[in-house]
């Protein structure tokens, strides 16, 4: 009897869309993934309701843009966690073996994961805008007039900063391939680094002029302000390369060569 062969030369390659669909499903069909997504929605909703209740009771003025600002504050640390877990669960749940056996072209798998991260970010932004809309509507009904100031530049800034935040988490996850380590590293970057940058800039002259070029979080202000200064955008690009480009490049290289256990 001759050796059996499995001829796959006529089989078509797995399309990117199928990978994207698979990765999308993976993000919500486990209990942990499902509850992460539900938590993001519930936290945003709860915060908006509290803000709405406080502002109506205290007769404080508030606009649609303010509601979205509250949502943006919360999702700016929840979406990176999502970006981290999209990638690291593959290692912590040991499903990487199956994933990379069925699709050995790892760059496509990683691209599909990043794509799903972006899709979920867009969905979160859409949900936040709608929740903000409803809250503003209720505020308007109770207070007899609502402030609808929220323009397309704000919408654009909201979207871009959230996508950058998610990708920041994704990059750290690729670099560390370990959920707790990536989450801790992300929070250090998010909350510990800014005061250190601030203190450093206040104390040292040379650091003060260097800081805008390496502080990715404050350079993102340019997106919100729709800055007209070319220097602001250059600082965004330079700090973005440091905090997003380099970790992502090293991390992806690592995933492509990592031994899957």
């Amino acid at each position: 009897m001759s050796a059996m062969t499995l001829d796959v030369s006529g089989t078509r390659k797995t399309s990117f869309w199928r990978l994207a669909r698979v990765e999308l499903r993976k993000s919500y069909d486990t209990r942990a993934g499902f509850w992460l997504l539900v938590s993001i929605g519930l936290i945003v909703l709860a915060a908006e309701v509290i803000v709405l209740a406080v502002t109506t009771v205290q007769d404080e003025p508030i606009s649609w843009g303010d509601f979205i600002g509250v949502a943006a504050f919360l999702t700016s640390f929840l979406l990176p966690v999502l970006g981290i877990m999209v990638l690291t669960t593959e290692w912590s749940q040991r499903s990487a073996m199956v994933t990379f056996s069925l699709e050995p072209r790892r760059p496509l798998v990683i691209a599909a994961k990043a794509f799903v991260g972006v899709l979920l970010t867009l969905a979160t932004v859409a949900v936040s805008v709608v929740i903000g809309l409803v809250c503003t509507l209720i505020y308007g009904l109770i207070e007899g007039g609502a402030d609808w100031s929220f323009g397309w530049p704000d919408m654009f800034a909201f979207l871009v900063t959230q996508v950058l935040a998610m990708l920041g988490g994704f990059a750290l996850a690729a670099l560390l391939l370990n959920t707790p380590a990536a989450i801790v590293a992300f929070f250090v970057y998010k909350w510990v680094l800014p005061p250190l940058f601030f203190a450093g800039a206040a104390l040292m002259g040379w650091f003060d002029s260097l800081a805008p070029w390496i502080d990715f979080q404050s350079s993102q202000e340019a997106i919100w302000d729709w800055s007209s200064s070319g220097e602001d955008w250059a600082q965004l690009v330079v700090s973005g390369i440091i905090w997003l480009g380099i970790p992502l490049a090293i991390g992806i290289r690592r995933v492509l060569r990592a031994e899957v256990k």
């Binding site: 942990a32 406080v54 009771v57 205290q58 404080e60 919360l74 640390f77 929840l78 966690v81 981290i84 877990m85 912590s92 370990n178 959920t179 707790p180 380590a181 989450i183 801790v184 929070f187 250090v188 909350w191 510990v192 250190l196 450093g200 104390l203 040292m204």
Partner: protein
Amino acid sequence: MSATTAAPMTLDISGTAPTPFTRLLRTELRKTYDTRSGLWLLISIGIVTALVMVIQVSVAIAQDIQVSYNDFLTSTTFSIGFLLPVLGILLLTSEWSQRTAMVSFSLEPRRAHVIAAKLVVGVLFAVAAVVVTLLLAALCTAAFNAISDIPADWDFGIKRTSFFLLLQVIGMLTGFAFAALLLNSPAAIVVYFAYSFILPTIFGIGAELIGWFADIHPWIDFNNAQVPLIDGSVTGEEWAQLLVSGVIWLVIPLSVGIWRVLRAEVK
């Protein structure tokens, strides 16, 4: 091939002494450093602590800024203050994420003892971290004194040292409590950081806007209640606020969490 049915085997352990607590303690202590991730967590805590202080002392020397022994300890907010709670979380949750709970609770079914051993190990590490930190701060202050023209300020006492120790133990225990409540590393870490970085902001805004909230705020904000410990002087009312907010954020989550661990199905 057995034609005859043997009498059912029994394992008589009635004469075996129950596992002593010290053995559990030794086991839990070993578990913290004999895996790669555990070892690197401990090494990272040490490296980050040293790094923060070295940066601090070099900036102070280069810029001729007066620093005190106390300043070096305050900067640990960015090192052990941040990482000890993570240690407290992983002590407990790794048992679930690595699925070793099955073995641990089979070998020692008195789960309360296992949890107590983990808790003691956590406290031991907090104490060890404080000792290392005090030594590092002394080194940095001495280095500053030797190199800089400005004399270093060594002012620190037994009282402040014990406050510092208390702070770090509280931090570790808060992480441990959230871990017991959630039994999931990522969830516990995210919730802990939300509690320590986002909640104070929200509480602050709430107190600003709402009058009655400003009155209860000091009694429910555990982070804020710990500030007098950092400053080194605590009044009677501040002790009471620390106690009340501590019950809310430490005792209740820890009790509910331990109750949950005692009854959790181990998979």
